[in-house]
Point group: C2
Chain length 152, copies 2
Amino acid sequence: MEESSAKRMIDTMIRYGLRMTEQRRTIVRLFTEAPGFLSAKEVYLEMVATYKGLSFDTVYRNLNVLEKLGVLELFRFEDGNKFKASCSNHSHHHHHFICLACNGVYPLDYCPMRHLKAPDHFKVTKHIFEIYGYCGSCRNNKTDQSRHTLPA
Amino acid sequence: MEESSAKRMIDTMIRYGLRMTEQRRTIVRLFTEAPGFLSAKEVYLEMVATYKGLSFDTVYRNLNVLEKLGVLELFRFEDGNKFKASCSNHSHHHHHFICLACNGVYPLDYCPMRHLKAPDHFKVTKHIFEIYGYCGSCRNNKTDQSRHTLPA
DNA sequence: TCACAAAGTGTAATGGTTACGATTTAATGA
DNA sequence: TCATTAAATCGTAACCATTACACTTTGTGA
């Protein structure tokens, strides 16, 4: 699964004419090996261990490029922006459950816009819908979950 | 209408034991006189004209306090965080249409969570749902609306 | 292999936000 | 009314994420 999703990400990058640098391959690997959220800072810290003189510019530029290509998704949490690999089996429009304890993301095949008609005069161009809470395994772990910071 | 909404904001602040300083009265006035979004910077710039030595601290602290009290609402746009007075006639749970051209906010008495059952094992604690687009009057103004920056 | 545009590097700047000691002030009650 | 005092503000600096940019390196296609 990591195998194929990394391949799909790289294929997309090539299709859009991006050069496959070592740094970009590493970013792809990070997001396929650890299937959770990563902040720009976390990506930087992971990479700088290997690439001594790594530049912030490289990290931020590539994260933004990969997001524009739809390879990564950007989530705006209260404690900062984080990226994750796009949901592989859901290339169509969808939303997410997000676990506040483990940062797990569960695609959700429900869109409120299908059940809502906007007032006639309003032209809808975009919407956001995300659900936050605790997934089954995190609910069962009896750690105190009440102190987790709530995302946006 | 400005009259009563300012009074309601101030009543809330007093009820929570906040002191009514000149600076806080000014913030209330800004949000009731101009019923749109204001960034912290915009609030600061409006106020510093009157209060020569105004501190960033004062502005940010008060905006955050007023948001915690439910007097202001925080919206996370792509170009930064903005505040507006809470929808006065909608103290119950609701969502919003937001016009990308004029920044108008239209309360929406629809909540997708009423029509969605989460998987059994998932404990939902929070959700976000906002709709973006162009309101009737902005649609009709033939200015080029395609270049507006999309919010989060 | 070569040429060159794309990408990366190193560093500085920017912008929003928070922190904090010193000072001022709103609210309380005698 | 006025003294008290905790809350709020001020002035300034620090912090953090992100962006900018001149220069260097490198992937890619001829």
